[in-house]
């Protein structure tokens, strides 16, 4: 199946992304119709409990919708929305699985990564420990971004850091002056890195 047209083309991909960002019911309904089943089946590979499958699927889809509402996705070309969604859904599912393993105290990055690789259609040859560490790093970065009190700063840094937008692209997407965007990103980066440092136990001011 082609990534650009994974489903019936009843709503154009770009229009769908816009409609989802605006939380238009017609678009949300079309999105759920297309995505719920594949996400649920992927969740079914990681947990046999129907209630957990539902919770994870529900969380994944709602978080994707929240991402879109916060402007985390930037449409670039045909297929980019579904490619973004697929990667995003994978990350969110793997993160749910990782967190549950941690809560159950039966967690090592290697074992958890092996289980994920055995369950999900990921590229062969991936280092399972590295996979889980990357997911964990992403989860902490996203958590710290979410904690930033200024929505513009948060979005600007997210686009730069996680969506690979250049400064000028961020300014274009946010319809803001380049210098303003630079200022937002600088402030956001400081706050985010302080948050990440705390999460990893790095003392910035006093330790040597």
């Amino acid at each position: 199946m082609n990534a650009a047209t994974p489903f019936r083309p009843d709503i154009d991909e770009r229009e769908l992304a816009r409609g989802l960002a605006a939380r238009r019911p017609r678009h949300v309904a079309a999105f759920l119709e297309r995505t719920h089943r594949p996400v649920y089946l992927m969740a079914g590979r990681l947990t046999s409990d129907p209630e957990t499958r539902h919770d994870w699927t529900h969380d994944v889809l709602l978080k994707v919708l929240d991402d879109l509402a916060r402007g985390a996705f930037v449409y670039r070309r045909p297929g980019s929305f579904w490619a973004w969604f697929r990667t995003r859904a994978y990350f969110l599912l793997i993160n749910q699985y990782r967190r549950r393993k941690q809560q159950q105290d039966r967690w090592t990055a290697g074992e958890t990564g092996e289980a994920i690789l055995a369950s999900l259609p990921l590229e062969p040859g991936v280092d399972p420990t590295s996979l889980v560490e990357n997911v964990e790093a992403r989860a902490i970065i996203e958590d710290c971004l979410r904690r930033l009190p200024n929505a513009d700063q948060q979005r600007a840094l997210r686009l730069l850091l996680l969506e690979e937008c250049a400064y000028q692209a961020v300014a274009d997407v946010m319809d803001a002056e380049l210098n303003t965007v630079r200022s937002w990103i600088r402030r956001a980066r400081i706050a985010m890195r302080r948050c990440v440092a705390r999460a990893f136990g790095l003392s910035l001011e006093d330790g040597r």
């Binding site: 539902h54 994978y90 902490i140 980066r189 040597r208």
Partner: protein
Amino acid sequence: MDDELRPGDVDRILAYEDLDESGRRASDRLLAARPDLAAKLERLREIERRAQAALPVADDDGFWTADERSGADDADCRESARRTRAALGIGSRSWRDPRWLLPAAAVLAALVLLPLQARRGPLLTGLGVETVATTRDGTRGTATIPLTDGRLRTGEAVVLVVDLEDDAYVAVIHVDPQGAAALVYPPDPSRVARLAGGRRHHLPDPGSAGLWILDGTTGTESFLVATDRETAPVLSEVREALAARTDGLDRDAALAAARSLLEGTWDQVEIVEFLHVD
């Protein structure tokens, strides 16, 4: 070289990528004097690089097509989808969006009817609000008339106009502008109301003594109309659950809680709203 940190030094180091050339030179000097700080900055960059690493997704087909390796069965999947749709209010007006609360008369006059949930096709095919006509001397009659400007005034009577496709049990919850939620139909929750299909109903009966008269609290009035072809939940339990779930909530939260309560048990839930003014 002075390696003591001054106020602002750490922030400048953390924003290294955003500094101009002179700022970077100054930071480079400090980092050279403070290898511990340089190591921490590099550690933070490494975490960011890991976060940026693309997930090694294999191929599209593996994601988008059903796979026998999943233990999920279709019934569970459909039920999960139904719950997620219900939680998102698919088909409903975007009630989470505060903009709809703006008392734009033109919007409210439309008295939008939108399905919140329809498990088995439309049962409730029409829903609107009318009021009871009054004579010139102020005496209420029994005929209902459409709202003149999409609004009702304090003291006027609310009558819901309900078109049913099939015979159905019906219940109505009212959420007032302050978030007070109440089961208002059937008037006696110990008696279920099963109404005939293929015709229009007025709730409550405009000739009855139990008219719904608007009191002094102005704002958006919401009515959730629940219908079910086959089973009627125990209404006294609905009333108790409604009180327990909505007590102390603001209007949006109370409306969401009431909707959630109905969606779990009724075939179809619809909402109708209008602006109540002085």
